[in-house]
Every structure is written in structure tokens, then in C-alpha cells.
Symmetry: C2
Subunit: 247 residues, 2 copies
Amino acid sequence: MRARSDPAGNLANGTLHHRIRADLEGKILSGEWPPGHRVPFEYELMAGYDCSRMTVNKVLSGLAAAGLIERRRRAGSFVRRPQFQSAVLQIHDIKAEISGRDQAYEYELLSQRRRKANAGDREALAVGPQVGILALRCRHFADRRPFALEERLINLAAIPAGETIDFRTEPPGTWLLGHVPWTEAEHHISAAEADAEMAHRLEVVKGSACLVVRRRTWRAGETVTVVRLIFPGPSYHLVARFTPSQR
Amino acid sequence: MRARSDPAGNLANGTLHHRIRADLEGKILSGEWPPGHRVPFEYELMAGYDCSRMTVNKVLSGLAAAGLIERRRRAGSFVRRPQFQSAVLQIHDIKAEISGRDQAYEYELLSQRRRKANAGDREALAVGPQVGILALRCRHFADRRPFALEERLINLAAIPAGETIDFRTEPPGTWLLGHVPWTEAEHHISAAEADAEMAHRLEVVKGSACLVVRRRTWRAGETVTVVRLIFPGPSYHLVARFTPSQR
DNA sequence: CCGAGGGTTTTGTCTATACATAAGCGCCGC
DNA sequence: GCGGCGCTTATGTATAGACAAAACCCTCGG
């Protein structure tokens, strides 16, 4: 094996490919290598860092997977222009979110009905007729004040176990989160004015602004559940923290 | 080299590690391997797929990077419980978003001021005093109707080039998106009631519900820009589509 | 009973090598 | 000039082997 220890000793933390990765990311993020700039070829990096090709290949593949560079055979690797589209986001389970803030979490099941999918359900869940669905309505409380109103449909054809769970004690979102894997989800986030019932349930005045989040979740092409969460007015805000790993 | 061709010929698409990856992902997502289940050891997979350890290692590392499994030395690899936290999201540039819907996009710069950071700026951008900032206010239109109101602060210490750009023609968001790389962003999404000025600018009645998105963007620990986007009421909704690649 | 130490197992990293594949480049003949 | 063929080059994939590091496990000594 060749000598790889950095004689100057600077930046000697982490493993070799971590250091190389950090190096290259630094050059890209600092703007030293602007979008379109050609990253050195693998054999050049290999010579520069005095390591094998597999090692630089791993780093470059990682950067490509993270969307920072684009690789083209025969041509080389190029810095991609930054793209907001797609990034890593965090959305928490409501129960965990409230508990995490050291507030008292409470939960109330308003209604639970099992039925064959009606026209509205079929549209929302994209299922055929005669499919069993579970319709739930519930409220979440933080420190005894209404935090959110939840209206949920669960596709029992996809989640037969849903029928056997006691949703009087465990919120459906929490249960699903922990037990059902998913492959895709879609959020529609909008603002709406509270109608009479929403206002009553959330203990706000009618017409006040509410944040409405509608989420549809799929597993392998099949709609698993659709939920509408209504948060009272300016008191709540959704926090989403991103890191750019566009794909 | 050993015989690797699949005699039955099934699932022979893609490369070896793609097939292995798809196989394992399938078992996890289908629930065949529930959360907590121990994935076969590398040497077992190696024997099962008749390939080298580097190949299965690449696959398992990828699954770990994607957050589907967790790897522990000496113990093995385990299926992680599904987590909503963090997933890939798409948010578009406003200009691109409107144009993409085949609506006419228009843009109006309301005001642009260059100043030393005042107390409010310093808090919002987390910069010291005496730092130059650019304060912008503008409106976006879709099909001649107000689509969003934008209030933006740009940290000129981080983006000196910001001073030389003509934001009367190009929206600041679009310019930044194409020219400034970022390492982290945070969104606060909430609902608010329109005050007199917002109502006037967005051509809605005072007190109506608006969707407010506040985004802070960092590059290498330094706040680059803070923007507040205000969308009029129920007419607009933010769409976020996810795939689970939690990290 | 408890804590220290050593052995074992599994993942983590790295090397050197090999062949496959895609795509740009230039040469050649027409 | 120009279309096609083949050479070259860079990446993509895969192998076999090696050592390192972490962490569980068991045993031994007090």
C-alpha cells in the first residue's frame, strides 16, 4: 500500500472517501466550481489523492446520486446547476410533534364508520366500488386546546388490518406511520376560511383562516389512505427543513 | 468468472446490483420483511446471489443511505420503521410553476432598497450590523391576476453579485435559483388573514385567508436570503410530492 | 455478583484488476 | 462535403483479497 497519510496533516478527519467527498462538495458549494464546470476525471483525482479508482468512483457516484454533479460517459462529470426541485423535507407525526414540544397531547375520536366506497370515496382513493373503506374523524389537542381536526379515509383493501385496530386510543396517523410502509405521498397545502362546523370543532370564530393539509399516500401504486388535516389559523405553522438532494 | 446468467431468465433486466436492490426493496416495501427484521448478512446475500461482497455491500450501503435499513456492526442490517420525517419534495420556482401551467406569467418589482442591516434584518438573516442587505418587494401575476406577494431580504455579504442584478426584469427567486448554490433551506408554512395592504396588493377582501410561506436559505452555515411569499386564499395550494428517502 | 479482557463476527474501507458500454472524434471513401 | 466506421476515452460494473473498527459474547479473576 502506498503512503496516504497527509504530510501536512490538515483535514485528516474521517475516512479517505469522506475527505474527498467533502473536498469536492466544498468546491461546488463555494462556487469555485460553477455549474457546468468539468470535475477532474477519475484518473486525475486518483492521482491527486493517491488512491484507487474504486474510491474516487464511489465519491463521484455519491455526488451524482445526490444530484450535485452529472456524469456522462466519455465526456466526464459536470457540476449541475442548483435546483430547488426536490429536497429532503421533514414532517412529523402529530402526536410526536406535540409531545416533542413538551405539550400535553390528547386525542379524541369523533366518529368511525366502515362502509363500501361511495362515489366520493372512490374518487378520493381511486378505488373501485364494493371496496371496504374506513372513514374516521378525530381531533388532536395540545395542552387541552384543539390543535387539529382530522378527516381520514383508509382503504381496507390495501390495509385489511385497519379494521381490527382500536382507533379510540391510538390516532390513525400514528398507527399507520408505524405499521404501513409507503412508496409515495402527495401533499396539498392551502389556506381556507373556517366554516361553522370547523370553527366549532377548533374553537375559533367562523371565517377565520385555517391551514389545510391534504395528504394522499400510496403503496406500490395503490392508494392507502387520504387525510385532511385542518389547523386553526396563524397559531400553527408547518415547518419544513430541507437539504438539497435532488433526484 | 462464475455463471451469473439467470437460467430461468426472470427479472433479468438491469445490472446485477440493480436487481438485488429491487429485490430487497420489494421485500421491505411489501411488508414481507417488516420493520425490525434482520436483512441477511452480506456473506449470505453473496452466496444467495452468487456475487462478490463488494456488490452486495454497494446495495446495502445504498439502502442505508436511502434510509430503508439501518446497519450495525457485528449485529447486522435491520429494516427501519417507515418514517414520514424527511422525504423528497418538489417545490418549483414561481415563474416556472406558472409558465408550466400554461398561464401568462408577469412580474412587478414594487420596491428595491439597499441598506445596512437594521435590527429586524439582523434577526431574520442572522448577520452582524454593518452588513449590506438588499430588501425587495414584488408581485407575481398569473393570467393578469395577482398570484403572490413576495418580500425578500438578500445578504449581500454572502451574495455580492446580488447588487449588480436588475431585478426589475428578473424575479429575485428565479435569479437566485439559477445562480446561487445552497446547502439548507427551511420553510414555515402558515395561514394568515389578509391585512389592509396585503388585501390591496392581492386584490382580495381584507381578512380573507392567505397562505404564507417563509423560507430561509443557507449556504455553508451563512444565511443567504429570507423570503416571505403570500398567496391569496383558497385559490392557491402548495403541492408537495414525496418518495420515502429519509435520512 | 460484577467488571475487565480477549476472541469472534459483521460491517467499513480500500486496493488492483478486468471487461463492458457509451459517446465523442477523426479518418476514409465516395 | 458528408455519411459511416472504427478507435479512443471515460465511466459503469464486477471480482477477489486484505485489513480496520466496532460491538456483542463469553470467560476468567476478584
